[in-house]
């Protein structure tokens, strides 16, 4: 019983992390129709920046604030000076650009921080454990899940209940009309992209203490986040929630029950969704 519970909680923690990563991806895709290949690279860069901030300040909390801010700024520059310039040439060029960017960030990180894995250790209550139904469990993993719920709720609130959210969603459907209504759409897209970058950095900071910080961290999360986006449906926040949960648990129990095939399981699930519902569980049909 307690083993099942522990693995369920492991699954929840990973699902939380997956949601934090894929929510930014979904936001940018849903709002700008750009699949941001650089997202996982931002995530990794965010984790490395946090690592350096932690080394200097000795605490986790400044890192969790500073790193998303730095990545937000980077996101502004990337959108304004790179992405915007290829937008008119269509989605292939946007994909190529963000892919190239991911490659450059990946290599820059290796150049600046080296290739050895770095441990990020939290202290204070986050490093403690808690006893749940007779099982001892690290608080940090529960913290990840809590944070992801908070971020998800906040995003839903902003997108569906505020004026900003309405404008952003309207700009996706008909950016010309929104622009005609006197709204600065390019500025809006820049803000959305930068928010996506900040979100991925936030996810990177959260992931650091759990998975440690290393150059391969981008690639492994990128694939999982892409699977989440495919399974959930591209651009759907609700789909991202459900798919993160499914894949997080599948990953966790896969390790418990089929250790040899755990990596392949999530791809099987993806293939299944692709056969039955190519647009994803919550996705809209392609025209």
């Amino acid at each position: 019983m307690s083993e099942t519970l522990v693995f369920f909680l492991h699954g929840l923690a990973y699902a939380g992390l997956l949601f934090l990563v894929s929510s930014g991806l979904t936001l940018v895709f849903g709002m700008m129709n750009v699949l941001n290949f650089a997202h996982a690279a931002f995530y990794m860069l965010g984790a490395y920046v946090a690592f350096s901030v932690m080394q200097h300040s000795g605490s986790f909390w400044p890192a969790i604030v500073v790193s998303p801010m730095i990545l937000f700024t980077l996101g502004v520059f990337v959108e304004k000076f790179l992405l915007r310039r290829v937008h008119a040439r269509g989605h292939v060029y946007e994909l190529l650009l963000t892919f190239g960017l991911a490659y450059v960030i990946q290599e820059s990180v290796k150049f600046l921080w080296g290739t050895a894995p770095q441990a990020m250790t939290v202290n204070g209550f986050l490093a403690d454990t808690i006893t749940l139904f007779g099982a001892t469990y690290p608080i940090y993993r529960l913290f990840i899940f809590g944070v992801s719920v908070a971020v998800g709720s906040l995003m839903a609130l902003v997108l569906y209940k505020t004026r900003i959210g309405i404008i952003v969603r309207a700009a996706v459907d008909d950016s010309e009309m929104v622009e005609a209504l006197g709204i600065n759409v390019p500025f809006l897209f820049m803000a959305v992209y930068a928010t996506g970058a900040a979100l991925s950095a936030f996810a990177g900071v959260i992931a650091g203490p759990l998975l440690s910080v290393f150059p391969g961290m981008a690639e492994s999360i990128l694939i999982d986040a892409f699977v989440v986006v495919v399974v959930g449906g591209m651009g759907s926040l609700g789909g991202a929630v459900l798919a993160s949960f499914l894949i997080g648990e599948l990953q966790s129990f896969g390790v418990l029950w089929f250790p040899k095939f755990s990596m392949v399981l999530i791809y099987l699930m993806m293939a299944l969704v692709l056969i039955l519902k190519p647009e994803g569980l919550f996705g809209e049909k392609q025209s």
Binding site: L97, F99, L101, F111
Partner: protein, 331 residues
């Protein structure tokens, strides 16, 4: 004027072919290996461009075919005793085509961005199969390829002799690239181009756009498999690097930097990439950083790649030349 241009072009191609054939006399060892590698990557990039340049399908998973071809060659030679080398290459290519058919039937259900994303996920799937199925693929250790001699009846070709591998790659891969060029000129090849431009209209004209795209996808996969097969032969070894995301990145960079708008672009790209990487990696360990920055610069400023730059340079010279002429006539 055009006929003179055509003659110059033919002479140029003839000289280029002749010098390629003479290469083993001129350079040796390491340099020859590099040239063999460039030949292999040329076919790999050409096959990739059949998707990207001709069908407008951006794949981030081409290494799954390259790697499948490489591993299939090694595995066929290991498990089938007395298998002739070229038959192993053929088996690997056909097997990759089959894999391409299965993957294509799944992936081509979606288009555009979801397609790009799924190809990447499938590449990751193939890579993890490669790691997990270590009893067959050798896992992290890779596989040594047992290269048999090619028996020509009167003469045995030893595949550990560098010029032999070079000539074999040049002849087989070179003629395959020629066939690809021919294919793009056929009605079938042209129809793919038209589907990219206006799919709806092609459907109205009675073309099954889905089947055309699938055929192209399978063909492109099979050719990448053939390139991968030769990669295994050249190294006499296959590792997971052949099926990795880096191998996908490599073909993407090569093809785009060479130029996706022209048939010959990817060949330029493959040659440029191979030699430039070789040059850079002698100077710095972070050569991928420089390569990546160059790639981004080209996406932003030279979307036609090297072939595009060469074309505009030619246009520029021609304009200058002819405008000079007309100026003379006016005077």
């Amino acid at each position: 004027m055009t006929t003179r241009g055509a003659v110059i072009k033919r002479v140029f191609i003839f000289i280029a072919l002749l010098s390629l054939l003479a290469m083993p006399r001129l350079i040796s060892g390491y340099q020859l290996r590099l040239l063999t590698e460039a030949t292999i990557f040329s076919l790999y990039a050409v096959s990739f461009n059949m998707l990207l340049g001709y069908a407008g399908l951006l794949s981030f998973g081409h290494a799954m075919f390259f790697g499948t071809g490489a591993f299939a060659t090694a595995i066929a030679l290991e498990y089938i005793a007395g298998l002739p080398l070229l038959l192993a290459v053929a088996i690997a290519t056909l097997f990759t085509a089959l894999v391409g058919l299965l993957v294509g039937m799944l992936l081509l259900r979606v288009k555009g961005t979801p397609f790009a994303l799924l190809t990447l996920a499938f590449n990751a799937l193939f890579f993890s199969i490669g790691i997990k199925w270590s009893s067959v693929t050798g896992g992290d250790d890779g596989l040594i390829v047992n290269l048999p001699d090619i028996d020509l009846g009167v003469y045995n070709l030893n595949m550990f002799h560098e010029p032999t591998v070079y000539y074999l790659s040049l002849i087989i891969l070179g003629s395959t690239i020629g066939c690809c060029w021919f294919f793009t000129r056929t009605a079938m090849g042209q129809s793919v181009l038209l589907i990219r431009e206006n799919e709806e209209r092609m459907r109205f004209l009675g073309y099954s756009t889905h089947i055309s795209r699938l055929i192209l996808f399978v063909l492109s996969g099979a050719l990448a498999g053939l390139a991968g097969s030769f990669y295994a032969i050249m190294n006499a070894f296959v590792s997971l690097d052949a099926i990795s995301l880096e191998m996908t990145t490599k073909v993407l960079l090569m093809t785009f930097m060479g130029g996706i708008g022209h048939f010959i672009g990817p060949v330029f790209g493959a040659v440029f990439y191979t030699y430039f990487q070789n040059f850079l990696s002698e100077m710095t360990d972070s050569w991928p950083l420089i390569m990546g920055l160059l790639f981004i610069a080209m996406v932003l400023m030279a979307p036609g790649g090297i072939a595009g730059l060469a074309m505009s340079a030619r246009e520029w010279f021609r304009k200058r030349f002819t405008s000079g002429n007309s100026l003379k006539e006016e005077l």
